[in-house]
Symmetry: C2
Subunit: 612 residues, 2 copies
């Protein structure tokens, strides 16, 4: 499996040559930026220069940070992000994301909501065991956190999963706004306080020394009641108090004041860390998060690409880069331990696994974020990028220096491919290399110029296929407006046996998918289908993504509403033929769904069983 050589998580802006050994390269064709060889300007005129201060990450103690300017980054991509529609990830994908978050240097990884399903519990447990015990430089180990509602069963499940980490944390929550208490919980204020207090105490009593408590919908809660309940949970042993703007309702000044008032009025608050969790319903989550930090919050809850339910959460990349660019000047000297050079790769990985596309004009990580315009550059512009760029692309891991390296052609051999992939950051050997070489040759025969992006697309397609249940061998299609679309498909099963089937359909994809269904015989619904060309030109490789839901559905429990939600599975495929890439993606999604089932069968437990 591909691996990555990681820089020190808080190496800041020391530009060590960055060589990802991971299928998500830091560059993509979408990024039009062509770097000159010069580093971001150190020019003599007095404009603010974007620099990350290189400081040591302070020692971790749950309820205390020795450096008052250090801000912890709490990433909830795997919990809040993963529960957004269609974003289901497999255990392997979650583990990949968690490893990447550790490379980024995230202080706390919220790995899931273990009580929601057995699959979630297993994933959090695996992450706690592997990533929560990683050996990183300077003693950095990410905290692994599991979410739990305020009940014993949820807390037991969370502890069962996170206890394997060196630094385990339980995050428990209960709603404190009138509307939520009245209509969701149907509990009185006193009952809510008692529930919160007793469950925080319970989490401490079973051995967890790092307990976070969130008053859900804090942004719309009565402030006096908030101070009271927060004071009670501090007494019960909470070490972090997270203040969520659950409905994304507040404006920055207001949210900052809420944090400041909580710090001023909550008994015992000096012994805990205050945290923010801002939803983005009005597009203000990044600003609200920064306002919270300026008002004294020292943990910021964010997700990669800002994914999450509805309009999502504050983006890790926006919050971190704002602190990096403006921390010294206008944000009170605050800083984080994030190694921003891993941002772009993290963004690509989460986009791929969650299927939640990033719009081209997304701040920091969008395809256009560093593309000033598509036309002819003038000399002056290249020499003084600072005229329009406040962040150096290299700072987030956008570095195309490799583009001029080894050039492959159709006569290139296995050795040259191996060397090129190493140059791109991929260490592949054995069967993986054989498979890639075979596909490389078939593309090289048809396409004049093979770009780095082509190789990366093929690589992702090979590496990110889940464990094979079915393997696609051949497809043949006839279609168009003059006849009946007909497809023939040959698949190979886990035992190496060939299966051939054909079908007619409304179009080539419909026909081919029906032919696959005749072989695989697992009823599914196709929810989404999308395709993009990887590079320019009509002979580009097409990358297809599909999202399916099994009719005998996998379900899990929604953290906030307690509702049962259906799991969905995505698959991707890359090929020069759009029909081939479509079928690859479909077979990939079917394999993903079937390996998900296998895991459950292995554990011999029902999934999505009711929670209290």
């Amino acid at each position: 499996m591909a691996s990555i050589t990681t820089n020190h998580p808080i190496s800041g802006n020391t530009l060590i040559s960055f060589r990802p050994k991971n299928p998500f390269l830091q560059t993509q064709t979408l990024f039009n930026f062509k770097p000159s060889n010069s580093k971001h300007s150190n020019s003599s005129f007095s404009i603010p220069i974007v620099r990350c201060s290189i400081r040591r990450r302070p020692e971790y103690t749950p309820n205390h940070i020795p450096d008052p300017n250090y801000v912890r980054i709490f990433d909830t991509t795997l919990r809040d992000g993963e529960q957004s529609p269609g974003a289901t990830m497999t255990t392997e994908e979650k583990l990949d994301v968690a490893r990447q978050l550790a490379k980024l240097g995230v202080d706390i990884i919220e790995a899931g909501f273990p009580a929601s399903s057995e699959a979630d519990l297993e994933a959090v447990k695996l992450i706690a065991k592997e990533v929560g015990n990683g050996v990183y430089e300077e003693g950095y180990v990410p905290v692994i956190c599991g979410l739990a509602r305020c009940n014993k069963r949820d807390i037991d499940k969370a502890w069962e999963a996170v206890k394997y980490a060196k630094k385990p944390r339980i995050h428990t929550f209960i709603a404190t706004s009138e509307i939520h208490m009245n209509y969701k919980l149907k509990m009185s204020r006193d009952e809510v306080v008692e529930k919160a207090r007793s469950m925080v105490a319970y989490a401490r009593s079973i051995g967890c020394e790092d307990v976070e408590f969130s008053p859900e919908d804090a942004g719309r809660s009565d402030p006096e009641f908030l101070y009271h309940i927060l004071g009670e949970v501090i007494k019960a042993g909470a070490t972090t108090l997270n203040i969520p703007d659950t409905v994304g309702y507040t404006v920055p000044e207001e949210f900052g004041q809420l944090i400041a008032k909580i710090k001023a009025n909550t008994p015992g608050v000096e012994d805990v860390i205050i945290s923010t969790h801002c939803q983005n319903d009005l597009g203000l989550s990044t600003a609200n998060t920064l306002a919270g930090a300026c008002a004294g919050a020292r943990q910021l809850e964010v997700t990669i690409n800002g994914i999450g339910e509805r309009a999502g959460n504050a983006s890790l990349e926006e919050v971190v880069m704002a602190l990096k660019c403006r921390g010294e000047q206008v944000l009170g000297g605050l800083y984080t331990g994030i190694n921003t050079q891993h941002i772009l790769m993290s963004s690509k990985m989460v986009e791929e696994y969650s299927g939640l596309h990033v719009q081209p004009h997304k701040a920091i990580v969008g395809a256009n974020a560093f593309a000033h315009e598509s036309g002819i550059h003038q000399d002056g512009m290249l020499k003084h990028k600072d005229t329009y760029e406040i962040i150096s692309p290299e700072d987030i891991g956008l570095n195309r220096a490799n583009e001029s390296g080894i050039v492959l052609g159709k006569l290139s051999g296995r050795h040259a491919l191996h060397a090129k992939m190493l140059e791109l950051g991929y260490e592949i050997e054995g069967r993986e290399l054989d498979d890639l070489f075979w596909r490389f040759k078939s593309v090289a025969e048809k396409k004049k110029k093979i770009t780095d992006d082509d190789l990366i697309a093929l690589m992702s397609d090979e590496i990110f296929q889940p464990q094979f249940v079915w393997q696609l061998q051949n497809v043949q299609v006839t279609c168009g407006s003059l006849g009946l679309s007909t497809a023939t498909v040959k698949l190979i099963d886990a035992d190496g046996q060939e299966h051939i089937s054909c079908s007619v359909g409304t179009g080539p994809v419909d026909a081919a998918y029906k032919a696959v269904d005749l072989i695989v015989k697992v009823p599914v619904t196709l929810l989404e289908y999308s395709m993009n060309a990887v590079t320019q030109g009509i002979d580009a490789i097409a990358s297809t993504r599909v999202l399916i839901r099994g009719e005998n559905g996998h379900t899990s429990t929604h953290a906030l509403t307690g509702e049962t939600v259906h799991r969905t599975f995505s698959g991707t495929g890359a090929d020069m033929d759009i029909v081939m890439s479509s079928v690859r993606a479909y077979v990939g999604a079917l394999n993903k769904m079937m390996s998900f089932r296998k895991l459950l069968a292995k554990n011999n437990k029902p999934e999505g069983s009711a929670v209290i």
Copy 2:
């Protein structure tokens, strides 16, 4: 052509039954929200209720607003947005967007940068003539604005275009930060002041009574110099001073202070309107814009979907909805004249025309923005949507009430289709109806259930095709991993003559596009290719989008950098067969490019001629 019945532009939240007569319906399958019949809650417990105050839009005077709480919305989708990579729109598309902006009730429409190319000049002129003379209720007429650099030629071109509007405005700008003055302008401070002063005076002298001035890169300019130059242009006759955070560098408090200081220190500032223009490089544009308004700005420059160069601009929908939701409570009672019920349709139109996709978790207009989760709703959730929703979907025009109306099947006739389309908001007759009916029948024969979204996709495909140069008749394709991909294409030219060609390729799309090229014989580069399924299920209609650039390129001049940029052209196609939809999109893009040329040929002028 389809038209729309518009509500009163400032009708606020009066829920008149909303029937768009426009191919961009207000609903899409992507929006999972299923409305109950109840209106947004008026429940008795004391949570803040989102309501737009219904007020009259004040009379328009360039440099004065009678109501101190009224904030003007200045939309620059057609200027700043349209210059972002790949977002080129044809004149007809720009006119459509301008009409839509008038329906939204935008106070000022920045229609383009007339000096950049003849095509831009023509588009601004057309918008000034038609939309700038629209007869709207209560006397509302949008101001039509044209951008010009600080030189006589630019200002003349801008005036030549906007003077036909009832309320014309010229917007001129020059950079005032040290880095821009030194490296881009190569001018001293005094020279910059003199240029600005004299050009504002010139714009007034040729008859324009509404002149806006922007000090580019104000966010990084020396404040004292800013007060000085702004004071000088006020004396010279500027009526609006726009303060751009050109590199998206400021944080909200800082930007608010900048506006407050300009209001406090600029001589004569009481006689002009202060405006904001915030880029989104750190994800803070909406918050910065609101901070500017709270500090005294009474014009906010925004774009639909937040499009624009790099990370784009502040989003109209986020800024307007934040003011609508929180204006009374926490934003000083500020309000706008925007009819928010047109937001979603505007968003869809700009997404389609610009090709800049909106991510699913985009605030307000993203596909997931109102989808709480994909699972099973509990009664309590539906009854009390306020638990997680702060904005009523109907407020932005998301209303699926029509879904349960007329149901079409394969036996439905032309009359039923006409009635259904009327129900969906489309008034089509004659050949348009004939064409749609023919395509409807071919889909109905293959697909069990024809949804509203299917009809809308077909409708968009028919209506938004540019003037025909080439029309696609038939495609036949053979492809797959076992043989050579081969495509045969039949096109019909403007004179009704048939052309047939065939080609082999690396895949079905490559083969078909090569066959089209053999007939059309215009060398182009394919820049982007993407596809999405319109609805769920494998028999869904696929919608394809391509972006091409002609090799004998159309160019225009970039407003800020003065560089020459190549124009690109997008095309879309919808069909149940992905190869068919791909070819439709390609032929559409070629037609768009060729009709763009025709316009220029008609005007008999060179395009993209050098500007001073």
